[in-house]
């Protein structure tokens, strides 16, 4: 069956004279049950993944004429989550725009893998508004799903929307995903929103916002970060110090020095590193500390100046 499928598909791709009649004939003769249909579909999809342009359109035409679109769509009405997911993948691969609403109905499914498959499928099919499903998304986007979405978006070469549109959603994971995408795609127009998110109740969201500010080098966030510092957790303080070393001037040296005298060793090390990254003045100050063997900050200064670490 695989060999016959390959032969027919190849012929159809290169011979425009093969019309609906031949297609129907092949279908009546060979696609007599669901398994044979599936074998043909798999062969077609495998080929479609490696082809672009007119040939790809030919394959899509064959998919429709062979009635395989109906076969794939039927899967979305099955009970088993993996059958639905397989159906969605087939429709997405063949760019079945007419089924967008049906696929969209699964973005909040209880099964995380199926949710993810539906979301990635929409990314691929809805080229004009790839992330519009975020408007209706209620369920969390797990870390793994975020990875898949980011990867799929990159591969699909789509125009990225302004992710700041969704950073005030209730679900924190959607917010963190959007913050990461803002940073990844250098969406500087979202900088004001990132600064606002520094007040978010979720520690994870605040941490992501600080990392995004660091990536985008948002100089305007300096005062806010300093204001927040004292009331934050150790991990967030470390992120703040790293970020300030990128966005702030030499006027922050006393701030770093204060961190270097913290009771928490991780903060001492982070403060010293921030000072070393802040510029020539910071490195000079650390060099003086390193040379002073009696100074209790000497080991921390030596560590900060070692660029191998």
């Amino acid at each position: 069956m695989i060999k016959e499928s390959q032969q027919f598909i190849t012929s159809f791709m290169f011979d425009e004279d093969i019309g609906q009649e031949e297609v129907s004939k092949f279908r009546r003769k060979h696609l007599i049950n669901s398994s044979r249909c599936q074998i043909f579909t798999n062969t077609l999809l495998q080929l479609h993944k490696n082809i672009v342009g007119e040939l790809s359109d030919r394959l899509r035409l064959l998919y429709m004429q062979m009635g395989l679109h109906v076969h794939s769509k039927q899967k979305l009405y099955e009970g088993s989550w993996n059958t639905i997911a397989n159906g969605i993948n087939e429709l997405a691969e063949m760019d079945m725009q007419q089924d967008v609403n049906l696929i969209r109905s699964f973005i909040n499914h209880y099964h995380p893998t199926l949710r993810s498959v539906a979301q990635v499928a929409l990314l691929r099919i809805q080229k004009e508004t790839p992330f519009s499903f975020l408007d209706d998304l209620q369920e969390p986007i797990l870390e793994w799903q975020q990875l898949q979405l980011a990867s799929a978006a990159h591969k699909a070469h789509i125009a990225m929307p302004a992710f700041k549109r969704w950073v005030f959603k209730k679900e924190d994971s959607i917010v963190t995903f959007c913050i990461r995408m803002i940073a990844l795609y250098n969406q500087h127009e979202a900088e004001d929103v990132l600064v606002e998110l520094l007040n978010h109740p979720s520690e994870k969201v605040r941490a992501e916002a600080i990392k995004a500010i660091r990536t985008l080098e948002t100089y305007g966030a300096k005062e806010k970060l300093v204001e927040l510092y004292d009331n934050e957790t150790v991990d967030i303080k470390i992120d703040i110090l790293k970020t300030l070393s990128i966005i702030a001037d030499d006027d922050m040296l006393p701030f770093y020095l204060q961190a270097m005298t913290s009771a928490e060793k991780r903060l001492r090390l982070a403060g010293a590193k921030a000072m070393s990254l802040s510029g020539a003045l910071g490195r000079e100050a650390l060099q003086r500390l390193k040379s002073d063997l009696e100074n209790e900050l000497q080991p921390v200064a030596a560590y900060a100046l070692d660029d191998r670490l």
Binding site: P140, E143, A150, K265, P299, Y303, L309
Partner: protein, 481 residues
């Protein structure tokens, strides 16, 4: 008086037979249930995995960073190759931390020479107390920028791992035995559960396979073979049963108590808050996980320990009786020490499935099984001497138990064949089936005796250490072009 004694012994033997039968039914049911649960768990895993492309983790900026920690003690034979293979794993953002635990041979010199190491002024945040660190080294050559070597005073495996935890920079730590051969995609697979669960994942583990007689080139596994020696071959079966059937089932129930010390990944923050590896026990891998779980229960944080059934790590199994006995003795002592340390959890509903099911069953079927078997046999011999032994019952019972053991092993072999087909030649399968037939007769008594000695040694306070595992190194083969 003599008649009274005879009646008493007769009644005692009937009662003894009943108890042994009850225990045997219990243990058989235990294995049957675990097997069924494992089969279901594997089916679910395979179904979910068909939608996974691990390669996206490789190129994703969202993938978490990992610190791979490997303690090394007297590993001069293989350390350079082992480190090279760790540096070439398929993962984007990770560091390799080798902790030289005061080796008496030239392990450290070999590392310095091979990787052009130089001492650095690294300040360590010693969140877990350890033995003194003598120096920290990084490579001059940027090709080895992922490598960090720590030289420390000898303190044992647990202490070395704790140093690695202190030195690591990332939120996820993978703790391995340095002489294990990791599959190139092992980090990709082990990291995924931390990203896909809605509950906090505190640890993940994978399947450890036996590498004896396999062909390893430059630290990479190139060809899988069933071990030549019987002792190592039997351990292949043991590992099938333990990993594919035991741990899959316990993970499915969310009651897993043990991530193999050979290879496991952990949330560093939870490890530190739990206190790090315990260097006062020889079962530090199990003890740490139980303590981490206990911490999560006490803080009322829902969490999960995940297990990947894919073969991720290959290790050398003991090939001589002496080394095998020492290993099983240590495993027994480690199990008992962990159970004793956390006895408060047993039958305590505040510790969920671990308190009510995992730990009690571990006591009954992992710790007590060899003791019940040994003392049961002793009692039977006593009955033989007194002339009250029921040989029909004894041999029938032995026949049923033997058949059940074979059936379990064959099921494990089929499980592996259906799932991963690591042993591709038909001869391999036949060899394993024959080994399964011989295991209960020639291997099992050694394991029972070693467990018994483990109990005795712990009771008497003798031999409270790891002992030395003599490595022979993996089979090396150069392919001629």
């Amino acid at each position: 008086m003599k008649e009274v004694m005879q009646d008493f012994v007769r009644e005692a033997s009937v009662f003894f037979n009943f108890l042994v039968l009850l225990y045997a039914i219990g243990i058989c049911l235990y294995y049957v249930v675990l097997s069924a649960l494992s089969a279901r768990a594997m089916y679910i895993y395979k179904k979910k995995n068909s939608f996974i492309d691990y390669r996206i983790i490789l190129s994703s900026p969202f993938a978490p960073s990992v610190s791979l920690i490997a303690p090394a003690y007297n590993e001069s034979l293989t350390i350079v190759d082992n480190v090279r293979s760790l540096l070439t794993l398929h993962y984007n953002n990770y560091e390799v931390i080798i902790v030289n635990d005061g080796s008496k041979d030239n392990t450290m010199d070999l590392l310095i020479q091979a990787y052009e190491l130089e001492r650095v002024d690294m300040e360590v945040d010693e969140r877990i107390a350890t033995k003194k660190v003598r120096g920290i080294y990084k490579a001059k050559n940027p090709a080895y920028h992922k490598l960090l070597v720590v030289d420390k005073e000898n303190g044992g495996k647990a202490d070395a791992l704790n140093v690695g935890v202190n030195v690591s920079r990332n939120k996820l730590i993978a703790c391995i035995d340095v002489d294990c051969v990791l599959e190139s995609d092992s980090l990709l697979k082990l990291v995924k559960p931390f990203m896909e669960e809605d509950r906090k994942v505190i640890a993940t583990g994978g399947v450890v396979r036996i590498a004896n007689s396999c062909v390893v080139e430059d630290g990479q596994l190139v060809s899988v073979h069933v071990p030549d020696k019987f002792i190592a071959r039997v351990q292949v079966l043991e590992y099938f049963r333990a990993f594919l059937m035991g741990r899959m089932a316990w993970t499915h129930l969310d009651g897993l108590l043990l991530i193999s010390g050979a290879f496991g990944m952990f949330d560093k923050d939870i490890v530190i808050r739990a206190g790090g590896y315990n260097h006062k026990t020889v079962g530090e891998d199990m003890e740490l996980l139980v303590r981490m779980r206990r911490l999560m229960y006490e803080e009322k944080v829902p969490c999960k320990v995940a297990f990947i059934p894919d073969p991720l790590c290959w290790t050398e199994a003991p090939q001589t009786l002496n080394i095998l006995r020492r290993q099983r003795n240590r495993w027994t002592r480690g199990t008992i020490e962990t159970l004793m340390l956390h006895r408060k959890m047993i039958f305590n509903k505040n510790y969920g499935i671990h308190g009510l099911i995992s730990l009690p069953l571990w006591v009954l079927f992992e710790w007590l099984a060899p003791l019940i078997e040994f003392f049961g046999l002793l009692f039977f011999l006593f009955l033989v001497l007194l002339g009250y032994a029921d040989f029909t019952y004894f041999f029938s019972f032995l026949g049923v138990v033997y058949s059940f053991a074979i059936m379990t092993s064959v099921f494990a072999i089929l499980f592996e064949e259906r799932s991963f087909q690591q042993y591709k030649k038909p001869g391999h399968m036949l060899s394993l089936v024959v080994t399964a037939l011989l295991e209960p007769i020639f291997f099992h008594p050694v394991v029972v005796w070693s467990a018994l000695m483990g109990n005795l040694d712990l009771l008497t306070g003798k031999n409270n250490s790891w002992g030395e595992m003599t490595r022979t190194g993996f089979a090396q083969k150069k392919v001629s072009v």
